[in-house]
């Protein structure tokens, strides 16, 4: 019974193998189904669309920048999409044809550079022209040249044109800030590196400038340059409480959209980037020094009859009165001899300490970059003390001087100029530089200089704003001495003088003795009336009622300037 025995054994074994085989078959089928399901899920997953671009290229990296707005939210700079033209050399058929067709549209396109760029057919990407206006891009597109294509990039637009150009600075071709506030954005606010044209999500940066005030200052400077045939002009408006710069203009202007313009030395920013011997406006500091140091008071007499010899200079007065002058008269009649004698009484060391305390001698920085460092005389002896007393021998940037002058009239507290709008409750870090009493005396002297018939600043008066100020006519240093007929005439003004809120500093460079200035080149006849015109225009814009009554009462704020502006950029 061997075979049947064996057959039964095999059958038994097959029966024992049966469930295993079924299990195997089911496993295979399950795997197959799992594969099908997996494939379906894979296809259903997002983000698996078509193959990505395999063009090897130098990816144009650019920067998305936040908008810049003025203190009331009005737009000063923004990013817009621009077209940039590039070529794919491998697809260009005829290099010369490309040049022939493009040269009428881009007159300064270089033939050799273009040929060289398009010669290498292994390259798949070469910029031809970046930052095109939509209309130009359309014209190029209509030419239908094979191998040319566009890419959208971000470009910086300045809707105000040249307005506040010096403050805004500029950006390079990749939209990266290189100067002014634009550079500040890169360094402190943050710009996003993007490929293509993705607009910045960043909140706009609010400057302290006011477009309306800026324009008023610029248009008055432009007309003053016409009227007095000046070679240049500059002005700034400073909030003496917070240090905010409301307007800063320098002529000739620069266009932030044309970075090459700012390389022209004639167009340098005269407010912050260059230093000048400012002349008699500096006597404000000298007089404050002697009053604050208790060296003299307003009525102390100074003998200013004889011209003063200081080394090889002779210090003279422009309009000698021929009698001893009080300190107040030294200021109001702008006596060089008097100022020099007062400074000499204080002494070189005292003067240096005082000017250092007023932040006139050190380095200063704003958001728009470093202010040009003052040129301090070295060594500083008695002669230098005498000349600095009336604003010669020490060259300082107008903005730096304005900050010191603001401290003289605001009650004596330190003013740090800023181009960024400060929160309304920021207030001042109360760092007293001079006593409140000295500040009150300086305010009174500046006001008297405008109201008194003999005052040099009487043409700066604006009814209702109680303007106070000081003139300055500084001869410009030239080869081998000072040039007699080339002057910088300046006017330092503040208003309302009972409780100054704003400071205005006007500078005219090399004005001519035109009829409008009684055929003279005195600051009292050109810079002072210009300051007056500026104040008459900006007063209402700054929310001040042109009436001394309200100014004497409270802050003089008559219009509702604290409510949010109706014109916001976003």
């Amino acid at each position: 019974m061997g075979p049947p025995e064996a057959g039964a054994g095999a059958r038994q074994q097959a029966r024992a193998n049966g469930p295993l085989r079924t299990l195997l078959a089911m496993l295979v089928v399950a795997l197959a189904f799992a594969a099908v399901a997996g494939q379906l899920v894979r296809l259903a997953l997002p983000g698996r669309s078509g193959p990505s671009s395999t063009l090897s290229e130098t990816v144009g990296q650019s920067f998305a920048r936040p908008d810049i707005v003025d203190r009331n939210g009005r737009l000063l700079a923004t990013d817009v999409e621009v077209y940039s033209l590039f070529a794919d050399p491998a697809r260009v058929l005829d290099r010369d044809e490309v040049f022939e067709k493009l040269s009428p549209i881009f007159p300064n396109l270089s033939r050799d550079a273009l040929r060289a760029d398009l010669a290498d057919r292994t390259r798949r990407f070469a910029w031809i022209k970046r930052g095109l206006a939509p209309k130009t891009a359309q014209t190029v597109h209509d030419l239908g040249i094979p191998g040319l294509d566009f890419r959208l990039e971000l470009g910086r637009a300045y809707p105000g044109g040249t307005s506040a150009g010096h403050v805004l600075g500029n950006v390079n071709i990749d939209n990266k800030g290189v100067a002014g506030i634009e550079r500040y954005l890169d360094e402190h606010v943050g710009v996003e590196s993007v490929t293509g044209a993705t607009l910045s999500e960043h909140a706009p940066v609010r400057l302290s400038l006011d477009i309306g005030v800026q324009h008023a200052v610029e248009s008055e400077l432009a007309s003053a340059m016409d009227r007095y045939e000046a070679r240049g002009a500059a002005a700034l408006v400073l909030d003496v409480g917070t240090g905010e710069v409301l307007a800063s203009a320098s002529y000739p202007q620069v266009d932030p959209a044309r970075p090459t313009m700012s390389l022209d030395p004639a167009r340098i920013d005269k407010v912050a980037s260059s230093t000048f011997e400012l002349g008699s406006v500096f006597k404000t500091l000298t007089v404050a020094m002697v009053l604050d140091g208790g060296i003299a008071d307003v009525d102390t007499m100074v003998d200013a009859r004889e011209p003063l010899t200081a080394g090889r200079f002779t210090i003279r007065d422009l309009h000698p009165l021929g009698r001893p002058l009080s300190v107040a008269e030294v200021f109001i009649h702008s006596s060089n001899i008097g100022a020099a004698k007062l400074a000499l009484q204080a002494g070189p060391r005292h003067m240096q300490t005082f000017l250092k305390r007023m932040q006139v001698l050190g380095a200063m920085k704003t958001e728009a970059g470093s202010i040009a460092a003052p040129q301090v005389p070295e060594p500083w002896g008695e002669i230098e003390t005498m000349t600095v007393a009336y604003g010669h021998g020490l060259a300082v940037a107008p903005l730096q001087f304005a900050a010191a002058a603001a401290a003289l009239v605001n009650g004596g507290n330190l003013v740090v100029p800023t181009f960024i709008k400060q929160p309304a409750d920021a207030g001042l870090a109360n760092v007293p530089l001079i006593t409140a009493a000295t500040s009150a005396q300086i305010r009174e002297l500046m006001r008297r200089n405008v109201t008194e018939p003999g005052g040099t600043g009487k043409r700066a008066d604006v009814p209702g704003y109680s303007v106070g100020g000081k003139t300055g006519t500084a001869e410009i240093p030239g080869r081998g001495g000072y040039r007699k007929k080339a002057v910088i005439s300046s006017f330092l003004a503040a208003f309302p003088m009972e409780r100054p809120k704003y400071l205005v500093l006007v500078l005219l460079f090399e004005p001519k003795p035109t009829g409008a200035a009684n055929h003279e080149v005195l600051a009292g006849l050109n810079a002072a009336p210009t300051a007056g015109r500026i104040i008459a225009r900006i007063g209402p814009l700054l929310g001040m009622m042109p009436t001394s009554a309200s100014a004497g009462g409270s802050s003089g704020m008559a219009f509702d300037a604290s409510s949010p502006a109706k014109y916001e950029a976003r």
Partner: protein
């Protein structure tokens, strides 16, 4: 057993159709999302340009001549008076040509 296999087959087929349908819908939705995103980008870009254009058109340099053409000018102290009587007195004074100080202030 046969019922189980049949059931699994039906389930598989059903889920396959369902998955296909979902994947198809997803692709449609994706297309719509892309279209919307493109529209948003275009709108943002338009807004940026329009904002710049509005600021350009509203720049004081352009508004000033228009405003002056309308006879507008900065406010002066001549438009304000402490009281109605003071205002009337000033008008009378000016018509009499006596207020030289007032007229000079226009300079």
């Amino acid at each position: 057993m046969r019922m189980l296999i049949l059931g699994a087959l039906v389930l598989t087929l059903a889920s396959a159709f369902l998955l296909y349908g979902i994947s198809y819908d997803t692709r449609l939705l994706e297309d719509r999302v892309q279209a919307q995103e493109r529209a948003i980008d275009a709108a943002r870009s338009d807004i940026a340009v329009l904002k710049a254009e509005r600021a350009h058109l509203g720049r004081p340099e352009r508004i000033e001549p228009l405003a002056r053409g309308q006879g507008l000018q900065p406010a002066t102290d001549q438009q304000l008076a402490a009281s109605p009587t003071a205002a009337l007195a000033r008008v009378r004074g000016m018509s009499g040509g006596a207020s030289a100080a007032d007229q000079k202030s226009g300079e």
